[in-house]
């Protein structure tokens, strides 16, 4: 297990997750969604750099989630 901190806007949460927990797992996690209020379309950034969904989140990392822009319907 490892700790990660996730920020969405002014809200943040620090939580213990499995060692193989990826950025995609975070973006799909109902637990984090409920706690922070983000939706289905997000991008994950670490130090301002967008991360691939399949990348494992490093222990102790602070992940910033942002609302991803959609294209015009």
């Amino acid at each position: 297990m490892k700790n990660i901190t996730v920020k969405y806007g002014v809200d943040s949460i620090t939580k213990q997750v499995d060692d193989d927990f990826t950025f995609g797992d975070l973006q799909d996690s109902d637990t984090f969604k409920a706690a922070l209020g983000f939706g289905d379309r997000t991008k994950a950034l670490v130090e301002g750099i967008e991360q691939d969904r399949s990348t494992v989140i490093p222990a102790g990392a602070t992940v910033r989630l942002e609302t991803a822009a959609n294209t015009k319907a």
Binding site: Y8, G9, V10, G37, G39, G48, T67, A68, N70, K72
Partner: protein
């Protein structure tokens, strides 16, 4: 310039130290690189007729301007349901009216404009509409013509101006006169609980939002623009 120092160490050894200095003449590029992400908030930069004060969040490459507008012009189609006028954005048959929705105190409506410099002009890179709570959480209002990140779909828009004041004023004017249609529409139900009007004599009064917590009708958003909204 070269400086030579002779040092006597504690063990008695004499050591020569030569220091050579030269100016690299790279002050500005180094400063620019070091301050690339540094931004600064400047309040009350502009005062626009009808809209009020505009604050700036200035970065090295762009500026995000925020007007706390307090109202939203809704040039849209409306339908009367149980004596209450509610928007019917997707409707073709209902009456089109230019109503103005006045935000209650707990909903802080922010109109943001990002500008950049472009060949001596100021270019508008986008307009965003946010609803913010008292703790500065930002939300997407239940309106069409708004992308997920609250970027306003403005259609064709003159985007180059002589100065930032003109750019922000033109963005707000475009926002004021735009018609709201069903593009990017999600659910009409949320819109109709949020934007409600009662016909009274010759005017229309904004009714309270039909929800205990107005944020339940919105989607929380977080972007690099929300981070720079100044209210």
């Amino acid at each position: 310039m070269e400086t030579t120092e002779i040092i006597i160490k504690q063990n008695g050894t004499l050591t020569e130290r030569v220091i050579r200095e030269r100016d690299l003449e790279a002050e500005q590029p180094v400063l620019d690189a070091l301050t690339d992400g540094v931004t600064r908030i400047v309040r009350n930069v502009l005062s626009l007729p009808d809209w009020g004060l505009v604050h700036a969040h200035a970065g090295l490459n762009d500026t995000v301007w925020t007007a706390a507008i307090g109202r939203i012009p809704l040039n849209a189609r409306f339908r009367l349901v149980d004596g209450v006028l509610v928007p019917a954005f997707a409707s073709a048959g209902d009456l089109e009216m230019p109503l103005v929705w006045h935000a209650p105190e707990e909903v802080r409506v922010a109109f943001a404009v990002r500008t950049t410099s472009d060949n001596g002009c100021v270019r508008v890179d986008g307009n965003w509409l946010f609803a913010c709570d008292q703790d500065n959480r930002a939300y997407r209002l239940p309106l069409p013509n708004l992308h997920d990140d609250c970027l306003v779909c403005t259609g064709n828009f003159q985007d180059r101006y002589d100065c930032a004041g003109d750019a922000v004023a033109a963005s707000l004017e475009q926002f004021r006169k735009s018609k709201w249609n069903a593009d990017l529409m999600r659910t009409a139900e949320r819109s109709q609980k949020f934007f409600r009007f009662r016909p009274t004599n010759e005017t229309f009064t904004t009714l309270p939002i039909q929800a205990g917590d107005w944020t339940a009708l919105c989607d929380k958003v977080s972007t690099n623009i929300t981070e720079r909204v100044v209210l």
